[in-house]
Symmetry: C2
Subunit: 728 residues, 2 copies
């Protein structure tokens, strides 16, 4: 449901007359980040009920919370602002500028003694320098001179609230993962070094505080809290402006002296001032928007929502870091313990692949770097090759603790392999294929050969005990989505080896590591040939799996009320026997291979499975929009697209407030628009083609894509379609 207070404008979100009951929702959608650092959009001066609710996360910073299981560490609150006198907010509004990443918050506060003042806070997590952040606060007395006590610094008194895999259990046990090592403050700033237990991983922070008016300032330190206390009188008609610049480093940064760097950077940023930091960040954002923006001739609110989707994808992506991926809730929420799922490869990665291929490559390199763990993962289950975990953190070992999911949702491995194939196909990055991709494809293919079960009688390979994308189906056999991707995985491994073999030197290096035999390649091909793909000839219908047809029909309209996922009202054990689908399963397969299946087959899949789909996952709407657009079902595509592109802004899943931003939906929305409605494909010449099927409400689109290393500007409007190469 759309919030009445929220306005989505072409380049910003505006929230006026903020409603205290909706603060968690605002905090989610106003999140800021730069791929290194993620900060929920909380009010710096706001109440702090729980030490985990003002989340700040650092990409890839995980810590063990029990043997083998990690949580994304909640880092110190770097925008911390505390009043030293009793006062409370009486009204507030906020603006998030998508062009610059600037979050502005205007509020009126009242003191117990009756004085009121306005509080304008502006903050930035720099897109220019991932270690830089800045906060500027302007306080204006509204009814007479104002005696003020204000503290601002770093608050390391934060805990984690690890959430169990079982989405129905609300975990209530906080864990403090960081303890202070250094916590200092003086009149102009301070430093904070905290260390996680048990791995002794550190976060290093320094900050500088400046005021425009002469005020008394003191350094304050308590446990893991460091701040500068500012005291004085602001005369009526005047305004106090406090600027804080913050530098953040952590153990993952390959530098010598993290703390010295942090202190130096905080000073440097102080020199630039808030405006300087903002300017640099705005410039960096400008470059991003140049390659990533989609200009839309249509509803300005939709334009803003499309940009918001892109904005959050960019904010949560580390871009140049090949050792992290993007969590299901990005860097903005601890849900799912910050883990990386197939959400990245299948839903988010295409956006980066077509707009920022280097970022896409780094997302895949994360998986490459986890190959050792994936090999051990396979081995630990008595299998060969490499098996990617359903939930992955910095360790690359399975983080999913529920057996039926962690052990059975095996498609993740084929999803990673699919992303490798897509990356190479669109970028033609042969070096990646040679140095990384082939190894990933061969190792995952080996896994599949050992994971499949040969049936001699029928001379076929079955995939037993699996769960496909439709998680409402229990442990089943031969999920077609999975088997299809497995087949592609096997065949692409063969193709990759054949390709690299042509480069003798590279092949020698790779082969020394891989030791692929001719027999193995034959086996890959044979297994691909004999893997079961369930297809009902008579109905011209791909079947979801072996059990789905035997499920009990459910009157969905009587049970699915509002957005509430059915697993919240029907016990999972019961749900798994109903003929309903949690989220796009075969519909998703159709969007992954849009030109592989006949229109008739796609139509049959749509008309059979779509009515049975509950969309109880945020991964579902965008995919449905994409296939509907592909099939020319304009109205329904439009409807699904709206649900996907406004998913968080309208709190469609009714959980954005306490779960944060749904990253996969952002990517799925982008795919629906660009791959679905604009019909973007790669032509045989490696250049883009479009086949636009825009809904009535979108009169035109303009965006850029990169294919084979070249950038293209694409303009679609009602009269023409133009693809312009930006290269000479």
């Amino acid at each position: 449901m759309k919030s009445e207070q929220l306005k989505v404008l072409p380049w910003s979100l505006e929230i006026t007359g903020m409603d205290v009951g909706q603060y968690p929702f605002y905090e989610s959608i106003l999140s800021q980040g730069n791929g290194y650092l993620g900060v929920r959009g909380f009010d710096p001066a706001g109440a702090r009920e729980n030490s985990f609710d003002r989340s700040v996360f650092l990409a890839g910073f995980f810590e063990y919370i029990k043997p083998g299981i990690t949580d994304m560490v909640n880092a110190p609150d770097l925008f911390s602002l505390r009043f030293g006198m009793p006062c409370q907010e009486i009204s507030a509004s906020a603006t998030l500028d998508l062009r610059t990443g600037l979050l502005t918050r205007k509020a009126v506060w009242q003191m117990e003694s009756g004085e009121r003042f306005s509080l304008l806070s502006r903050r930035i997590v720099s897109m220019h320098n991932k270690h830089a952040s800045a906060l500027e606060v302007e306080i204006k007395p509204l009814n007479g001179d104002l005696r003020i006590i204000l503290e601002t610094g770093l608050d390391g008194d934060v805990t984690n609230l690890p959430i169990s895999d079982d989405q129905l259990t609300e975990d209530t046990q906080c864990k403090r993962l960081l303890t202070p090592v250094i916590c200092q403050a003086n009149q102009v700033g301070g430093t904070l070094v905290m260390e996680s237990t048990p791995s002794k991983r550190r976060v290093y922070q320094a900050y500088r505080v400046m005021t425009n008016l002469p005020m008394a300032t003191t350094g304050i330190v308590a446990d893991s809290y460091t701040a500068v206390r500012i005291e004085g009188i602001i005369p009526q008609g005047d305004a106090l402006v406090v600027t804080k610049t913050i530098a953040t480093y952590c153990y993952r940064d390959q530098i010598q002296d993290h703390l010295a760097e942090a202190i130096q950077l905080a000073d440097l940023l102080a020199g630039l001032g808030f405006t300087g930091v903002l300017k640099e960040s705005t410039q960096a954002w400008g470059e991003l928007w140049e390659s990533c923006d989609i200009e839309l001739d249509g509803d300005p609110e939709l334009q803003g929502a499309v940009r918001y989707n892109i904005f959050q994808l960019l904010q949560n992506n580390a871009g140049t870091d090949p050792y992290v991926s993007i969590g299901a809730r990005g860097l903005m929420h601890g849900r799912y313990k910050g883990n990386y799922f197939w959400d990245t490869e299948i839903f988010m990665l295409p956006f980066f692949l077509y707009t920022r291929p280097e970022a896409a490559k780094n997302l895949l390199l994360y998986r490459y770097h986890m190959l050792t763990s994936a090999r051990e993962g396979a081995k630990s289950l008595g299998l060969k090759g490499a098996r990617y975990p359903w939930m992955s953190s910095n360790t690359g070992y399975e983080q999913c603790e529920t057996w039926d999911t962690g052990c059975c949702e095996v498609h993740i491995t084929a999803d990673v392999a699919h992303a490798v194939q897509e990356y190479v196909r669109i970028t033609d990055d042969q070096d990646f294929l040679v140095h990384y991709g082939t190894e990933m494809l061969v190792e995952t293919a080996r896994y599949w050969v050992s994971r499949l079960t040969y049936n001699e009688e029928a001379d076929c390979y079955n995939l037993l005990f699996v769960k496909g994308p439709d998680e409402y189906c229990g442990v089943t056999t031969n999920n077609t989505y999975t088997n299809y991707l497995v087949r592609e995985n096997l065949l692409s491994a063969v193709r990759a080896v054949k390709f690299v073999r042509q480069r003798a030197e590279d092949w020698a290096v790779l082969q020394a590591r891989l030791k692929v035999t001719a027999q193995e390649l034959e086996e890959f091909e044979e297994v691909a040939d004999k893997i079961i793909i369930l297809y009902d000839q008579e109905r011209g219908l791909l079947l979801q799996d072996e059990l789905f047809e035997r499920m009990e029909p459910l009157d969905i309209s009587a049970h699915k009320l509002g957005a509430t996922a059915l697993y919240r009202t029907i016990p999972y054990d019961r749900l798994q026997r109903y003929k309903v689908i949690k989220q796009a399963d075969l519909v998703l397969l159709m969007t992954l291979y849009p030109d592989r299946f006949s229109t008739k087959i796609k139509q049959n899949i749509w008309s059979y499975y779509e009515p049975l789909t509950l969309h109880d996952s945020s991964l579902s709407f965008g995919t449905h929009a994409q296939l509907a657009a592909d099939l020319g079902y304009e109205d329904v595509a439009w409807d699904y697209f709206q649900k996907s592109v406004f998913l968080d802004l309208y709190n469609i899943m009714e959980n954005t407030h306490h779960e944060g931003i749904h990253m996969a939906a952002l990517g799925a929305s982008w795919q629906a628009l660009v791959l679905g409605m604009a019909g973007l494909r790669q032509g045989k010449d490696g250049r883009p083609l479009v086949n636009p099927k825009l809904p009535r409400s979108i009169r035109g689109l303009r965006f850029s894509v990169v294919m084979g290393g070249s950038e293209y500007d694409i303009t679609i409007n009602q009269s023409e379609t133009k693809i312009e190469s930006l290269r000479f």
Copy 2:
């Protein structure tokens, strides 16, 4: 492997030259109990490394260790004996008398100062009065006068070590569940009242200590330890005899003043002396043996083992208590948190049914009393009727925390219904059927109707997402064992209702509660008619389930090495795709309905499934012996029978030392002998029939059974078979 130190005699176990490394094994097999109290056979004066290793349990005394999950509470050590001077055991032997339940332990101890003494301890957990226990210790100086300091009393400083469902995880976190409320001692005895957290359940104990020689005695108290300290000199040639009588009550006993009763009983027992307590218990054992003994003309060791099986079944059964069942490891070990499984109904109950039908009835009444929980259990999964939990404690709510087992091993509900049918069939206890059984059958039938999934296309009912007795098969469809028992469950519900209807008054009472409709009965019959029973006509073979035939063959001889269960060497996820069987599945079905299937079908099942069975559960050997005997496979029946009947005595599973006694195997052995080898059946006239197929090594058998309320003496020898009614 048979222990060299252990001799199994017709009426006793004798262990000579006890080996310290084998103490945990001795402690398991020397366990004593009376169905109310279970005590591992530890040395009273022995070392006490962990506070949970001297286990003492009270039937039905469970406490929560986390929300919804209970553990069987480790109660105070009532045989506690401590020397107050440095000394150690240098040799020991023990005898467990099966006729009387007396455990005797003879040891030689040596003091640091060189003096040696013999320590003879005798102890009894009274079968006459379930609250009574006694210990007698005789100390004789061996080389000169002996200055002795000895404490004996109650040691409540005990903890639990809850073991996770996952048998591969060794839990190491102890939990203290009891805290002292009263802990007193004086010169002649003391009292101890302890209370469990969080349910505030109490155990009340009193003890009296007597010595034959004049010694200095003091009461000693520390936290939850109470003892009488005995000090003095035992002259060479003389012997100090210390007698301790102990009375134990708990919150479950419906009496006014538990502690007063305990004190009174401890005094009364002291009056009887050790000999008096032993005499009463021996008498009670005598009565039990009269109805339960199997006299065997053959190997005396086998005779002893058969008696040992019966002895442990009797010791672990509460007999007259309709609110407890028998845990998988009885009252003798905390494994599986003391929970009750299908082990009771399918493996143990037949022994009681044929020998002590009142005890069998009480085991079923436990399930009757859990009906409310079972109804809630069904409801919590969105189902109707009553669903019994895979693991059940005093609460009757599911105690199994692993989803694939707790949710999928649904056959337990049909197993309970099967036991109800068997009980009524053998006893002809119509009152039970009217007042309890019908309700259980109807409510479980209702559960099945809601749990099955109707397939319109094929007009049949499928049981989706289940695990059968073969737990090595993953989550599967239409496990035939389960479906068959479900069908019987449905049909028996209809028969039961039709039977009770004939008794108008009873029917009115029952129907007011049950509200069975004619339509419902029709539905039971229809579902029974249309439930899938997988049968391969061509091969004349019942199929285990829908997936088993498609599993990958495994060279068992290369993988199954010794007794180690395969799940310890092959990851479970891998194991589930091999064509191997953990334990009797369809073979078990053949023994539950020995006269329902043709010999040909039984033979086919044997020849197909037996070679694929790993017997990685102690529930497997006895069942195999039984079917082999039924089929006249004498040698193989003998071989399996040996493995079952000596399972704990020879530590066949190699875990008796750290898991305790395998209760189900005891019952399965009894069934193999009586229902298999002796071929006991109930004739159409309700009287016993036998069709002996004794192996060469058993020349004759003599035992009693009860059918339809009448007792029969059955004698089988090489020349004749005699069935004598003991009624006039």
